[in-house]
């Protein structure tokens, strides 16, 4: 559940942590396996995020009541 909400930054930070833990080598084997599994999950996730990322560009204007209102930013030939 919580994993779904992890940002890219959180994912990659956790990933670095996992790699360090694994490299330290003092975790129990079961724990190492669990860490590795978590790590591969995060790797896949980060990779997918990067592969599928489509840049979102919006133009922000102030609406009548002062709250931000997003509109599409004209794409043209960027």
């Amino acid at each position: 559940m919580a994993e779904k909400k992890l940002s890219f930054e959180d994912s990659i930070t956790r990933l670095e942590q996992i790699v360090k833990l694994l490299e330290k080598g003092d975790a129990r084997l079961e724990d190492s396996l669990a860490l590795f599994e978590e790590g591969t999950g995060l790797l896949r996730r980060c990779g997918t995020m990067l592969d599928n990322a489509e840049q979102k560009v919006v133009r922000l204007m102030k609406s009548a009541d002062g709250t931000p209102a997003e509109t599409e930013f004209p794409k043209e030939s960027v």
Partner: protein
């Protein structure tokens, strides 16, 4: 004027004023000199003296003209003043009515820039300690710039190429002219107020110093400083430096460079991810290999190599234990027997039967109680006397103390 005629003072002054005012050159003249006695009156008018080594020229700059000054005049500054020269009849003195004042040699904007830079530097707005770290992986990036120029396109393109994960939020503002500074400040505050982004890039493409001037505005500098969200200043081309650059958390040479500095490069990230994957796999392999070696060492031990050995070992231990148990048992029985013998001998020594053997007898009362005193019975009572062999029933005929 007529020779021999007596004139009033004001007539003379008016005459000279008229003479000077007729001179076209004096009506619009540039004068180079050094500022001295510079005073700003509460009225808003500025009074000063222009001087060179040989002489001085009194000058005045009225409030309306002075308000357009883009730098702060200081005594000793070399300036070029433009205005007209005429007489102030009340004092009988001619002076320069200055409309424009610019620093000599360098532009007025340049001086204004240096002055603001020094002022903000002294206030500590450029101090390294105020620089906020940029997020490593920004999720939302606010671009405060013109939505029309090439700059915004460049930034969007670079951000999209390097790190499309980040959402780009464009806050269109004017980036030159009078309206630009308040609009840029407003956008900076707005992004902070609504926490619209985790990183701000503000800037514009290249241009003249006048074009870039909004980014040398004190209000813009202070708004950048006040931003809780990190700000990258990306103004103009490489050599252009603005006050915004100094006060921002990071200075970029150009808008494209600002976008590059704002986000990690996806290609590098993918390499890093692959690298981490390899490292994790290697670490786990090592772990498994170590486990396997340990297991192998255990397998090599004697007991694991031959189960029979293990059983023999155990059996020997068992035999040994059995022996010990038997010994212990034997010792215990022997001890008890000795003890019993001692007790039996002691008991035997104390046996009343032995006493009877020596001729003593035991007398018991009617209730069978052993008699030790004469008071225990009365005359006529039947008592029993136990001998070594057999017993007698007797009647008490006499009691004596």
């Amino acid at each position: 004027m007529q020779t021999g005629r007596i004139y009033e003072v004001s007539e003379v002054n008016e005459h000279i004023k008229a003479l000077l005012d007729e001179d076209a050159a004096l009506a619009g003249i540039f004068v180079r000199g050094e500022l001295s006695n510079y005073k700003i009156y509460p009225s808003g008018h500025h009074y000063f003296t222009l001087k060179d080594p040989e002489g001085t020229l009194r000058s005045v700059m009225f409030k309306s003209a002075a308000s357009k000054l883009r730098f702060r005049p200081e005594n000793g500054m070399k300036v070029i003043a433009f205005g007209r020269i005429t007489v102030f009849p009340r004092d009988g003195q001619y002076q320069l009515y200055c409309n424009e004042l610019t620093p000599d040699g360098v532009g007025d904007l340049h001086v204004a820039f240096e002055q603001l830079k020094e002022k903000l530097f002294k206030e500590g707005l450029f101090d390294q300690q105020h620089k906020k770290p940029l997020p490593a992986y920004p999720e939302r990036i606010a671009l405060i710039t013109s939505s029309a120029g090439a700059a915004v396109r460049d930034m969007i393109r670079v951000l999209g190429k390097r790190y499309p994960l980040a959402k780009v939020i464009v806050l269109p503002v004017r980036v030159q002219g009078e309206e630009a500074p308040p609009e840029i400040c407003g956008a900076l505050r707005y992004v902070n107020q609504w926490k619209l982004a985790d990183l701000i890039i503000t800037g514009r493409g290249g241009g003249s110093i006048e074009d870039l001037w909004a980014f040398n505005d004190e209000r813009v500098a202070r708004a950048i400083f006040a931003s809780g969200i990190p700000v990258i200043s990306a103004v103009g081309h490489e050599p252009d430096v603005t006050i915004s650059d100094f006060v921002a958390d990071l200075r970029a040479a150009t808008p494209s460079n600002g976008a590059e500095l704002a986000v990690p490069d996806m290609a590098e990230l993918q390499i890093r991810l692959r690298n981490m994957e390899t490292r994790a796999a290697q670490a786990l392999d090592r772990k498994i290999k170590l486990g396997r070696e340990r297991l192998e060492r255990l397998r090599q031990t004697r007991s694991m190599l031959s189960p029979l050995n293990y059983i023999q070992d155990r059996r020997m231990v068992l035999d040994f234990d059995q022996e010990r148990l038997a010994n212990a048992m034997r010792n215990a029985v022997h001890g008890h027997r000795e003890h019993y013998g001692r007790l039996a001998a002691a008991l035997d020594a104390l046996s009343p039967l032995k006493v009877l053997g020596r001729g003593y007898s035991i007398a018991r009362g009617p209730a069978g109680e052993i008699l030790k005193e004469y008071t225990q019975v009365h005359e006529g009572d039947t008592i029993t006397v136990t001998l070594q062999r057999g017993r007698l029933g007797c009647t008490v005929t006499e009691r004596k103390k």
